[in-house]
């Protein structure tokens, strides 16, 4: 037995089989692409919503609006208070001018008007960006109370309910996301295994004949295993291509739409590592599907 030639024959057989059963092959590639594509779509959405999640984290900021009577010593005192706790990550003073400038940036058309206001209606403030853990920390309420009681503080703004809700939403979305991702992954593996199994069922007559004429098991199963692998690979590539096209389309839509609100999102494609992961997933699923499908029990038909 000439091993390299036999191997070459096996590989060529697998490819010929895929080409001969063009329709079946494209069908299973598309089914696999759908499965992997859904997993990919999930990651894509997650990737693009990450900025929102990060925004939510950014927003856990306590703003202390200062009385106009507040002195430099008052400010330093407030800052010392903040730094004494482990809750605050970053401190930033916002002067009334800065507040007005910020307002102008947000409302560009209003900028000149804001600058020409008699006096400055915006109070000075200190923004205290909290540590991520701070929101649910037990030390936060006393700290807020301390700030509110400070003589220089006009108003302490920390919309807890709002943040609680958002955090809940994000946690729920994460949870559903995880469940969904797990389901999708299982579904994709299941689909691929079954597509390979169906291919085998479709060829059960051939398999019976090959067995009867003494074809080695490796030769009978090999092409299906290889075929599963190739289909998994092609499916993953197709899925990535489809996702890329969808991403482009969304981007084009976002760019074309006059809705400025969407402009804040830089629609991103999946990072390279995720793409590789999806391809690996296709390969592994194809191989596993093939292995599952060609167990002797299944081949016996």
């Amino acid at each position: 037995m000439n091993r390299p030639a036999a191997l070459a024959a096996l590989v060529s057989e697998a490819f010929e089989g895929l080409v001969r059963a063009r329709r079946m092959t494209s069908l299973s590639v598309v089914l696999i692409a759908i499965s992997i594509g859904l997993v990919g779509a999930f990651f894509l959405v997650a990737e693009n919503l990450r900025s929102v999640v990060e925004t939510v984290r950014d927003e856990s900021t306590v703003t202390v609006f200062l009385k106009s009577s507040a002195t430099e010593a008052d400010r330093a005192d407030l800052e010392r208070l903040a730094q004494a706790t482990r809750l605050v990550m970053k401190l930033r003073r916002v002067s009334p001018d800065e507040a007005r400038a910020r307002f102008s940036t947000w409302w560009k058309s209003l900028g000149p008007a804001a600058r020409s206001l008699p006096g400055n209606p915006f109070p000075a403030s200190i923004e205290m960006e909290l540590e991520p853990a701070a929101v649910s920390s037990e030390a936060l309420p006393p700290f807020l109370k301390l700030l509110a009681a400070h003589r220089a503080a006009e108003e302490v703004q920390f919309d807890v309910e709002w943040i609680r809700r958002l955090r809940g939403a994000v946690a729920l979305a994460r949870l559903t996301g995880l469940v969904l991702a797990a389901l999708l992954t299982l579904g994709a593996a299941f689909t691929i295994a079954n597509v390979v199994r169906l291919t085998i069922l479709l060829h059960r007559d051939e398999i019976e004949i090959l067995r009867l004429v003494g074809a080695p098991e490796l030769l009978i199963r090999g092409p299906f295993l290889l075929g599963g692998l190739v289909q998994g690979f092609l499916g993953a590539l197709l899925a990535l291509a489809l996702l890329w096209i969808v991403t482009r389309a969304v981007l084009a839509w976002v760019a074309a739409t006059k809705n400025a609100l969407l402009g804040v999102f830089a629609v991103r494609f999946l990072p390279g590592s995720t793409c590789l992961m999806l391809i690996a997933f296709g390969l592994v699923a194809g191989l596993l599907g093939g292995i599952l499908a060609v167990r002797r029990r299944n081949l016996a038909g």
């Binding site: 030639a5 036999a6 024959a9 090959l210 009867l212």
Partner: protein
């Protein structure tokens, strides 16, 4: 070469072979006959381990087939050439591929496979249809492809189940001549058929089955037809 010792085969309680004992020596040419449903195909299927006997021992080529592990079955089958009663050609493969499919994976180069297939198909007068698919062949042509596949690899044992059932007289005799040539070159040949004319013309040993039992272990050729015609076929 082939030895059956008190072999029985049962399907869901139906005994289709009972107490079958016979021997075929290396290079021998042996017929197997009997009416429809007598158990001829079942007996042959036991030889290449497509079925396991319910009782008894089967020795093929020095190996005990009855207790053979599944992993050794493919090699056993590759050492034989088998013509199935229903041909069992690969449906979506050409004649050429059908004839040389297994060799391809044993690493035999394409050119050699082609040459061998051509030579063998010539023997059954089908060398001009190498590129045809089985569904594009007539019944008799398919049968001859099946025969070519069995012959192509110079097997030590040739098993043919009704190999001339769809062939006209001339081709049937050609095929029988072919099988006898093969047996002369040392291959053991076992042919199941109910064509008494063929058996008579060939003049070889014959095992007759009836309802699963061996009723005639040895029928020499050129006997008067009545000797085999136990069940009274109308003679022409």
């Amino acid at each position: 070469m082939i030895e059956f010792y008190r072999v029985a085969k049962e399907y869901q309680g139906r005994r289709v072979l009972k107490d079958v004992t016979f021997k075929a020596k290396k290079g021998e040419f042996l017929f197997l006959t009997g009416p429809s449903g007598a158990g001829k195909s079942t007996l042959l299927r036991l030889i290449f381990h497509a079925e396991k006997p319910s009782e008894g021992q089967i020795i093929v080529n020095g190996m005990n087939v009855s207790g053979m592990p599944a992993s050794r079955v493919p090699a056993l089958r590759r050492s034989m050439g088998i013509v199935f009663q229903d041909y069992k050609l690969l449906p979506r493969r050409t004649v050429l591929e059908n004839v040389t499919y297994v060799q391809k994976f044993l690493g035999v180069p394409a050119a050699e496979r082609r040459r061998k297939a051509y030579q063998t198909l010539r023997l059954v007068e089908l060398h001009h249809r190498m590129a045809a698919l089985p569904e594009e062949l007539s019944g008799g042509e398919q049968q001859r492809v099946a025969l070519a596949r069995a012959l192509v690899n110079d097997p030590v044992l040739l098993i043919a189940d009704e190999p001339t059932g769809n062939l006209d007289h001339r081709l049937a005799s050609e095929v029988m001549k072919l099988l006898q040539d093969v047996s002369v070159r040392g291959t053991t040949v076992l042919v199941a058929t109910h064509d008494m004319d063929l058996i008579r013309a060939a003049g070889r040993r014959c095992v007759t089955l009836d309802r699963g039992r061996v009723v005639e272990g040895l029928v020499e050729a050129a006997l008067p037809p009545q000797a085999q015609g136990k069940r009274g076929e109308p003679e022409p």
